[in-house]
Symmetry: C2
């Protein structure tokens, strides 16, 4: 039942945003009684936050021993976020938090998890001599995360569940951006 | 009056999405009578479309004679789109068109204008020998457009009207991505 409620909550928020989100709609879509929903959650923000924590997960840095592979893992996490169940909800977080402090905080925590993960991966890559010391972390993160988001918005739904194609895009995106990092440093050195 | 109505329409759609968009809210925010609004527009979709056409403009390719400068102009148009009055509305278009065919068509036309502009700029750059023939247009566009969108979402509001800072970001973004295009080609050549 809880999984059904979380799924209904992120899908309604994803489709209609904060303005279209309410406990009645969630109860209807999840097929549970309004009474039991109101008994558990005082307000719609608490319910949405519980669902977001489940379905719009933070990003974490993985240590594979290679900057390229670490960045591909990061790109895959971002693509998984935007192409998955919670994708439309994740894309709304940047614009849809007005009037909901907890939702804004969740967006900031998600963004901070992306910054921390990118920083850690780049730091390790620099210390192993794979990436230049002057790697522009913000540009790299904007283009990695923004590229993943644009791909999710622009590519046909049928490709979203094709994990081989998603991995190929992650590899192409990372190879493209690593070439930027390395060449930029070579030309200014 | 028309400018006020358009401004109110994109700002309400930007803040609350399609689910929170209606003629009454637009009339209230624009300070015009509901009667005159209903007289002009049969439905909320026609009103939103008129406002989007005004405030969420399509992108066009500029021919400055240099691929780098053409791409910077393109990045500036995208940053202008996402950082301007119609920014929140523009960011919503990719997720918020459910139930509104005309809004979906506007999003597709916007996306197509971006693809056409990127293609034209790259084609000219290739013919002048500035860009490699194998320039990956989709990756370049995803990261250019996605980078501009992430920058608009993540950077503080106070920077949005600082045109010197916006131009600097456009230049950094384009130089980063041109380095990717050139280096990628060099390493596979």
């Amino acid at each position: 039942v809880e999984a059904r409620i979380h799924h209904a909550a992120v899908s309604i928020f994803g489709a209609a945003g904060w303005a279209g989100f309410n406990l009645d709609a969630v109860a209807r879509q999840a097929g549970v009684g309004k009474g039991s929903l109101y008994l558990r959650w005082n307000n719609k923000e608490d319910l949405l936050l519980a669902a977001l924590q489940e379905k719009v997960a933070f990003v974490t840095a993985v240590d594979t021993g290679s900057a390229r592979t670490d960045l591909i893992e990061l790109a895959l996490q971002m693509l998984g976020l935007y192409l998955g169940d919670g994708g439309p909800a994740a894309m709304r977080l940047g614009t849809d938090f007005r009037g909901a402090k907890g939702v804004e905080a969740h967006f900031e925590a998600l963004r901070n998890s992306q910054i921390a993960a990118a920083r850690l991966v780049v730091k390790r890559g620099v210390s192993r001599g794979e990436l230049p010391r002057a790697t522009p972390i913000t540009l790299l993160l904007d283009t990695l995360c923004g590229g993943a988001m644009m791909h999710a918005i622009a590519s046909p739904q049928s490709l979203h569940r094709d994990s081989a194609k998603v991995r190929r895009y992650a590899e192409e995106l990372v190879d493209f951006l690593v070439a930027a990092v390395v060449n930029r440093s070579a030309s200014t050195a």
